[in-house]
Structure formats: structure tokens, C-alpha cells
């Protein structure tokens, strides 16, 4: 059973939010479809008050409250500031972020999204379907379960970050390759690319963004690879007008440089030149970590740790002096590549 504990921080100054994965029915607390423990109605009522608007010191007033919060702590996500949920409606956005899956944009550039969303109207678009993959197969056993919880995860993170989000639900890689040739499961990547190009074109025309973000892809046949291929093609064809194209990490640098080197190798003698740069996100790394904890159906503990470790390594790469630990402050950064057409001024 993979309902392992994530965090167990009973910091009175932090703001707990109960994750949408837990529910209560007739005296039992559930994580997805897995019964966790008995929980009284009063305890559940207390748990529902953990919505991120109150710090732990405000929430806990009795010994019973303290016991409850201790027993349900693994299913809380802790924020360093009061959570302000903002339901942002997709529309005009200065920044469009195309994410293959629900969590990818938050893994690769979650710190930057938290940091810059107040100044850059942002829409995060999840391009591919939500039903094919989970790290909690026992808790979310059916495609409907997965689709529901993934939507809840995205909604919570987007509201807390103050960004708009859209779901396109094109068939994910696992759904595109139909061994039995069942109807409705398009097997052609070309078909997918043509559809994706059409809807991206429409989204860009609607939002008229200044910046477009896509993930880098080591594997060209992955969802990220299909997405990057289509967006680069459109960029080369001049379909983005004045919008800048940026690429964010989709594999943590902590896992090795080889995927990134192979990816960059694709751009040698290409029409597109890439310039890498780092964005310091140190004050926001805690919130990024919390956001990644929300994606419990998609991101396991090891992946979350790898991404946070990667942010540290990026901090070292971005500022070798300050990031090397010779200063008292540890740096965290996220890595990006800005695209430019070869020969362009």
C-alpha cells in the first residue's frame, strides 16, 4: 500500500490544508478508495476547517484538536502563508504554459509560477489526458477516479498560485498506442500532432501571450516530446508573432545531465538556437514543495525530493559562489532555455 507519510510538520506558524484526496464516510477516513482510520464526525469537522486560511496555532484550541491534527498530519499540506484561493478564469494571459500532464509545469517551473503569477497573468494548460497513470493505483483504481482526483489537484494548486488552468485531455501516450486497435483510441502520432497544432494555434490566438512555455523532452515520442515538436514547428513557422518561447525542465537535473545533453544535441545545426538561463526561486521553494505534495496521485515522494534537490543544484549552477555553500544562504533555482530563430537579430 502506497499511502506513505509525506510530511509531518506540526509547526504552529504554518497553514495546513487537507488534501482533496481524503474523504470521510460513516466514521471512516479514506484516502481515495483506501480506508485509513476511524474518525469521528467532530474530528472530520475539525479537519474540514484546515483549509489554509488559519495557522495551526489558531486551529488548535483543545487537546482533542491537537490529537486529531497529529493523527491526520500525513494528509495535510502545509503552507507558509495564508492560502488565498483565487478562481482565475482562462482568458487573456500574458503567459501560456503548456504542460503535458497536470503536474509537469509545477515540477519544472512551480517556483517561478508562484513567484511571477501576481505580475504575469498566467494560464497553465494541461494538454494530455489524466486517466492513464498514477502512483497510487490502489487508492485511485479506475480512470474515472483518476480523472476526478487529478482535476481536484490541479484546481487546488492553480487557485493557491493564482493562475488559470485549462484541461484539454488529448489522449496521453499510454492511451494513444492501442494494442487491440479499439475504436476511439487514435494510434497515429501524426493525427495527434495535427490536432495539437490546431488547438494550440487557437489558444495562442485567443490569449495573445507574450511568453509561451513548453517542457523539454528527452524522448521524442513522449507526450512532452510531441508537445515540444509541435510548438517548435509552429515557432519556426512564425505562428507566435511576438511571443517569446521558453522551455522548462521536465527531468530534474539531479537525475543526471545526459537527458539534457541529448536534448540540446537535437538543436545543433537547427533553425532554433537555445540560450539557457536560471531563475532564482529560493523564497518560493517551500510553496513549490507544498504544491508537489498536492499532486499525490501523480508525484511520489522520491520524485518530489529529486525535484527539490535539482532546484538546489540549479542554484549552484546559477551562482557558483553563492550556491556552493560558502554563504549562509542556500540558493534554489529553476532552469530554462529561451528559444531564438537562428540568424534572428
Amino acid at each position: 500500500m502506497r499511502t506513505s507519510q509525506r510530511t509531518f510538520r506540526l509547526d504552529p506558524s504554518k497553514y495546513p490544508v487537507v488534501v482533496p484526496h481524503v474523504s470521510w464516510s460513516e466514521g471512516t477516513l479514506f484516502f481515495g478508495g483506501i480506508a485509513l482510520r476511524e474518525l469521528s464526525p467532530a474530528e472530520w469537522a475539525f479537519l474540514q476547517r484546515c483549509d489554509g486560511t488559519r495557522a495551526l496555532r489558531e486551529l488548535v484550541t483543545t487537546a482533542s484538536d491537537a490529537r486529531t491534527i497529529a493523527t491526520v498530519a500525513p494528509w495535510l499540506v502545509w503552507w507558509d502563508a495564508p492560502v488565498v484561493r483565487t478562481l482565475v478564469v482562462p482568458g487573456g494571459a500574458t503567459r501560456l504554459v503548456f504542460s503535458p500532464g497536470p503536474e509537469d509545469a509545477w515540477l519544472g517551473m512551480g517556483g517561478r509560477l508562484f513567484m511571477e503569477s501576481p505580475t504575469h497573468a498566467t494560464t497553465v494548460i494541461t494538454c494530455f489526458g489524466l486517466m492513464a497513470r498514477t502512483v497510487e493505483p490502489l487508492a485511485f483504481a479506475t480512470p474515472n477516479d483518476l480523472a476526478a482526483i487529478a482535476r481536484d489537484e490541479i484546481a487546488l494548486v492553480a487557485q493557491v498560485a493564482g493562475v488559470a488552468h485549462e484541461l484539454w485531455e488529448l489522449p496521453a501516450r499510454e492511451l494513444r498506442h492501442s494494442e487491440d486497435g479499439r475504436a476511439g483510441a487514435p494510434s497515429s502520432v501524426d493525427w495527434m500532432k495535427s490536432m495539437l497544432r490546431e488547438v494550440i494555434d487557437e489558444a495562442v490566438a485567443r490569449a495573445a501571450p507574450n511568453e509561451i512555455f513548453v517542457p523539454f523532452a528527452g524522448d521524442a515520442s513522449s507526450d512532452a516530446g510531441v508537445l515540444l515538436d509541435v510548438v517548435l514547428g509552429m515557432y519556426v513557422d512564425g505562428l507566435f508573432d511576438a511571443a517569446e518561447l521558453h522551455i522548462f525542465e521536465s527531468t530534474p537535473v539531479a537525475n543526471g545531465h545526459r537527458p539534457i545533453d541529448e536534448f540540446l544535441g537535437r538543436f545543433e545545426r537547427s533553425y532554433v538556437e537555445l540560450r539557457d538561463y536560471f531563475v532564482p526561486v529560493t523564497p518560493w521553494i517551500g510553496r513549490k514543495g507544498s504544491a508537489l505534495e498536492v499532486f499525490r496521485s501523480r508525484v511520489d515522494h522520491a520524485s518530489r525530493d529529486a525535484w527539490l534537490e535539482s532546484a538546489k543544484l540549479n542554484g549552484v549552477l546559477s551562482d557558483p559562489v553563492a550556491g556552493s555553500g560558502t554563504t549562509t544562504r542556500e540558493l534554489h533555482a529553476e532552469r530554462f532555455w529561451a528559444a531564438r530563430l537562428a540568424g534572428a537579430a
Binding site: 482533496p20 481515495g32 474515472n144 477516479d145 476526478a148 482535476r151 481536484d152 487557485q159 488547438v199 487557437e202
Partner: protein
């Protein structure tokens, strides 16, 4: 092909609507492309009777599944019983933002009095409920296990309600404004591919998200209606409501609705009055019926459906 109707209108009883609708359904029956009909349950008893008569008539001419859509806050044992007595195949409970506890309790009470229900019950959880989709779906699945199919709604129910409100309050300005958007592009709508959506006002709309303003009324010949439906893809991309239909592979009717096979009802005497019973009753697939018999059934259906409009 599934015919979908929205809202609670009694347009079945309007002669100018019932005739063309019956002819349109008959055309689909002849081409064997009709998988069924989904309609909302009217409040008024006479309107309910007319709707059930129409649905039974369609069902017995080989028209596939008949489905009643019921908003979660209007699910009662009585409304479910009415659907059962009306011999509808399925009820879809549209679970929106309201607390599902009352609806669950109603279904449990209905189940208590109908331990072997003929009625299939499905729940569509509004995909537009940010943050509480899982909990809402879990409340239903824990109450009924596999006994009730809980699915994400193929369309955002709240958006449908908003669209209706906006269209009503703005008198059609919304559609006009949206139609003035970017030039049309060739996009296909997954919903439209499988479903003809008819608003209770008698207009055909591309999908449930649409307000009826600006779209062709059903008061036309079946051929014209088919042509009107065929024109929708040309304007979809110019309508903000439609942008995105193509990419939503889930934005289509569920598989269980696509089957034209209707399981024969079993056990007990029919709850219908004698005059409500049909001699043209077909159980099973229309494909299994001889051509001549099929034509007879379809003609009987048209006659019966048209008579709905003049029924008391």
C-alpha cells in the same frame, strides 16, 4: 447517434415540434443510426406522461436507450418511481455543487421499495467542481458500490446553467457577440459527432453548452434539420463555447449510451394502463427485425409520436 434534450420544457406536446421531431427520429431509425434519446424530466404530470409516451414509442420502434436526466437537487423517490413506471431505461443524476447526501438518501429509499429495479441509475458528477470532484464521486460510490455507475459528466454542468442564465438575461447578445470572434476554422466537435441536442424551446443546438439563440428551430422538415446540424461544424470555431470541443476526447456520450441494444424488461405485469401498451413492441435490436416489419414499426412510431402533441 443519440438525441439529447435539455431542460424541462414540454415541446414534445407542440404539434409544430412533435411532427418534425418524429420524422427526424424516424429518419435516424431507418438509417439505424439512432442509439437513443436523453431528456429532462418535466415537473408537470401531464408533460411527464407525454414525454414518457414519446420515449416508449421511440424505444419500441427500436430506437435504443431512453434516458432521463435529473438534477441532483430534484432526485426524490417519487421522481425515480415515475421514471420506473414510465419504463425509461436509465436515469442520469446530474450531481452539481449541491450536497449529494439528500439525493443519495432518495435513491436509497427508492432502492428499498424497488429491490430489483428495472431502472438503470447513473451519476454524472460535474467536472467543473474545483477541488471537490473526488469527494462528491466518493460519496456516491461508497453508498452504492458498483450498483450505480458514477462518471464525470461529459459536459460541465455549471457552465450549462450559466449559459442558460446568460442567454436568458441578455436576450441573445451573448451568442451574437461570440459569433463575431475569429474566423471559423475546421474543427470537429466530439459531442456533435454522436449527439443531436435539442433545446426544449424547439431549437437545435450543437451541444449542451449552447444557449438556443441564433440556432435553427426544429420546426422544419427532417432533411432541413439534418442539413442544419451539418452546418454546425462550420461555425464551431467561431463560437467561444465550442473552442475546445475537438480536444476534449471525453466530451462525448458514454459508451453505455451508445449501445442500441435494450435489455428486455422482465417480471411482473406492466405498470402501464392497457391503452398505453403498444402492439408494435420490439425487444432487442432493430437490426434483427425484417425490413418490412421495421418500416411498419417506424410508421407506427411516427403516428404515435405525433399523437403526443394532441394528447390531453
Amino acid at each position: 447517434m443519440l438525441i439529447l434534450t435539455l431542460g424541462e420544457g414540454d415541446f414534445w406536446a407542440t404539434p409544430s415540434n412533435a411532427g418534425p421531431l418524429a420524422s427526424f427520429c424516424a429518419d435516424l431509425l431507418r438509417s439505424r443510426s439512432l442509439a437513443g434519446c436523453l431528456a429532462s424530466l418535466p415537473e408537470e404530470p401531464a408533460a411527464r406522461r407525454r414525454l414518457f409516451t414519446f420515449l416508449r414509442s421511440l424505444q419500441r420502434a427500436g430506437g435504443g436507450q431512453t434516458v432521463i436526466a435529473l438534477p441532483g437537487d430534484r432526485v426524490t423517490p417519487d421522481s425515480l418511481r415515475a421514471c420506473e413506471v414510465g419504463q425509461v431505461d436509465h436515469v442520469v443524476i446530474l450531481q452539481g455543487t449541491d450536497d449529494p447526501a439528500d439525493a443519495i438518501a432518495s435513491v436509497l429509499r427508492f432502492r428499498d421499495t424497488h429491490p430489483v429495479p428495472q431502472l438503470g441509475i447513473h451519476v454524472w458528477v460535474d467536472a467543473g467542481l474545483p477541488g471537490s470532484i473526488h469527494r462528491t464521486a466518493a460519496a456516491w460510490t461508497r453508498a452504492f458500490g458498483a450498483g450505480i455507475a458514477v462518471e464525470l459528466a461529459p459536459a460541465v454542468l455549471a457552465s450549462i446553467a450559466d449559459a442558460r442564465t446568460t442567454a436568458t438575461s441578455s436576450g441573445g447578445d451573448r451568442t451574437t457577440r461570440e459569433l463575431a470572434g475569429p474566423a471559423p476554422a475546421s474543427v470537429a466537435c466530439e459531442w456533435l459527432r454522436s449527439t443531436v441536442t435539442i433545446h426544449p424551446s424547439g431549437t437545435v443546438v450543437p451541444c449542451p453548452h449552447h444557449a438556443p439563440n441564433g440556432h435553427p428551430p426544429i420546426t422544419s422538415a427532417p432533411a432541413t434539420l439534418v442539413a442544419a446540424v451539418a452546418t454546425f461544424p462550420q461555425t464551431l470555431a467561431s463560437d467561444a463555447t465550442c473552442r475546445g470541443c475537438a480536444r476534449r476526447m471525453r466530451f462525448t456520450i458514454p459508451d453505455w449510451m451508445k449501445s442500441r441494444h435494450v435489455a428486455p424488461r422482465t417480471g411482473g405485469a406492466s405498470p402501464l394502463a392497457a391503452e398505453e401498451r403498444f402492439v408494435d413492441h420490439v425487444e432487442g435490436r432493430l437490426d434483427d427485425v425484417e425490413l418490412a416489419m421495421r418500416a411498419t414499426l417506424i410508421e407506427a412510431f411516427i403516428e404515435r409520436a405525433r399523437s403526443v402533441a394532441t394528447a390531453p
